[in-house]
């Protein structure tokens, strides 16, 4: 093995020069970000010469402002989360959760779910790896609910389009649903509804040495996250914002109030049911949700719809069917759906 080769080429990327470039980039980023509103105004009325007060101008200014804003936020946050995630591996998370009492375990699992790298394609090995090494079933479910639901893309979009209050509410109640539904499933004692071969499986100790990454590799992880996530998500963001801009400019105020408003009691369950077969990432759904909200839809109904689309997906049920019996999948979806319903009603009641 030629170690000299590795040592010479790696530190270059993240040495002192790397930090200087990073800092300079951040300053530039902030400078541009804080001037976006003025720039959008100038572009709409001076460069495009649109008539102030018209629908077209209102839609155009919305798009010119929101699109770069959300993309810039995504870039920075996805990079940061990519670096942060290099500190949390599923193996470390499991070590923290194994043998934990319930309740404490549920809280911890939901929190760790937000920072541990997770992709629904590895849901099965992760599930087996957790339950065969002493992580209680309910605690495992808390993790499985929170990991896809409370993710950085959702939180950034919510912050960018609705402000920090809605982002914090979504995060807080997303975690609460994950904790509570995992706790309930744990109480029900459904271990026998897991496919029997899962518990018979001998889980080998991972042979790979726990990689302790150096900073250049962590920064590379951030870059990879940006390429991977932002590269995949940006067309949805732009399309969503375009739809949002159209609705912002052309759809009359309070248009949604009659069928997604507060007074419509059946709107929340319908929103949850509609969300299950719809499988979309946060990027596709949030800009559209924003438009609904702006035109009079109730916050609770909209939150319930969003959580249901992101957390309850038919493809995930198919993946988990390998390790869970149909009954357990039904209970899992049922319990999470009830949690989301309660959040929806609670918000319509409070706001």
């Amino acid at each position: 093995m030629d170690s000299r080769f590795v040592e010479v080429s790696e530190p270059k990327a993240g040495g002192k020069a790397g930090w200087v470039w990073g800092l300079a980039g951040l300053v530039l980023w902030y400078g541009a970000y804080s001037r976006l509103a003025a720039l959008a105004h100038w572009a709409t009325f001076n460069a495009l010469r649109l008539e102030p007060g018209t629908r077209t101008a209102s839609a155009a200014e919305f798009f010119i402002f929101e699109a770069p804003k959300v993309l810039m936020l995504l870039l920075v946050v996805v990079f940061g989360v990519g670096v942060l995630r290099s500190f949390f591996t599923p193996r470390r998370t499991r070590a923290l959760l194994a043998g934990r009492r319930e309740s404490v375990g549920n809280v911890l699992a939901a929190l760790l779910g937000t920072v541990t790298p997770f992709c629904s394609c590895s849901a099965v090995p992760l599930f087996i790896g957790f339950v065969t090494t002493g992580v209680p079933l309910g605690v495992t479910f808390s993790f499985l609910v929170s990991a896809p639901m409370v993710n950085e893309v959702a939180v950034v979009l919510l912050f960018g389009l609705f402000g920090w209050r809605v982002a914090a509410i979504y995060t807080g109640f997303g975690l609460a649903v994950a904790m509570a539904s995992g706790w309930v499933i744990g109480r029900l004692g459904l271990e026998s509804w897991v496919e029997p071969w899962v518990y018979r499986m001998v889980h080998a100790e991972e042979e790979a040495p726990e990689e302790s990454l150096a900073w250049p590799q962590r920064l590379a992880a951030g870059r990879e996250a940006v390429q991977d996530i932002v590269g995949k998500v940006w067309p949805y963001v732009l399309a969503g914002i375009a739809v949002g801009a159209f609705i912002h400019g052309y759809v009359p105020q309070d248009f949604m109030a009659s069928f997604m408003g507060k007074g419509v009691w059946w709107a929340v369950p319908v929103a949850v049911l509609l969300g299950v077969p719809m499988y979309s990432n946060a990027a596709g759904i949030i800009p559209i949700v924003q438009a609904l909200l702006e035109k009079g839809a109730a916050l609770g109904t909209v939150l319930a719809f969003m959580m249901s689309v992101i957390a309850l997906s038919a493809p995930e049920a198919v993946i988990l069917r390998k390790v869970l019996s149909k009954k357990l999948i039904a209970v899992f979806f049922g319990v999470v759906a009830v949690g989301i319903l309660l959040v929806g009603y609670l918000f319509n009641f409070i706001f």
Binding site: M1, D2, R4, F5, V6, T89, P90, R91, R94, P117, C119, C121, S122, V124, P125, L126, I128, G129, F130, M201, V202, H203, A204, E205, E206, E207, A208, A221, E224, K322
Partner: protein
């Protein structure tokens, strides 16, 4: 040399497989390359995240896609490092 790419066939598994093919071609190592989709075999390596890369029975990477140059180093033939 025996190389296995562990994963149920998601997009990332395919890009890892392609990256391994590149590493093998560039370094000129004689190796057999196999996709492992069977969950029991994957768990047998104690891996919780896919895709994972196994070279001669040793887990080298988990849950990420290493570059061809990194993989070539595990094959004992770093690209460009004579």
């Amino acid at each position: 040399m025996n190389i296995e790419v562990l994963g149920p066939g998601c997009a990332k598994c395919k890009s890892l497989y392609a990256e391994v093919e590149k590493a093998v071609a560039q370094s000129g190592v004689a190796a057999t390359l196999a996709k492992v989709e069977d969950i029991e075999k994957i768990m047998g390596y104690g891996v919780m995240q896919t895709p994972a890369l196994v070279v001669d029975g040793k887990v080298r990477s988990v849950g990420r896609i290493p570059r061809a140059s990194e993989i070539a180093a595990w094959l004992g033939k770093p690209i460009g490092g004579n």
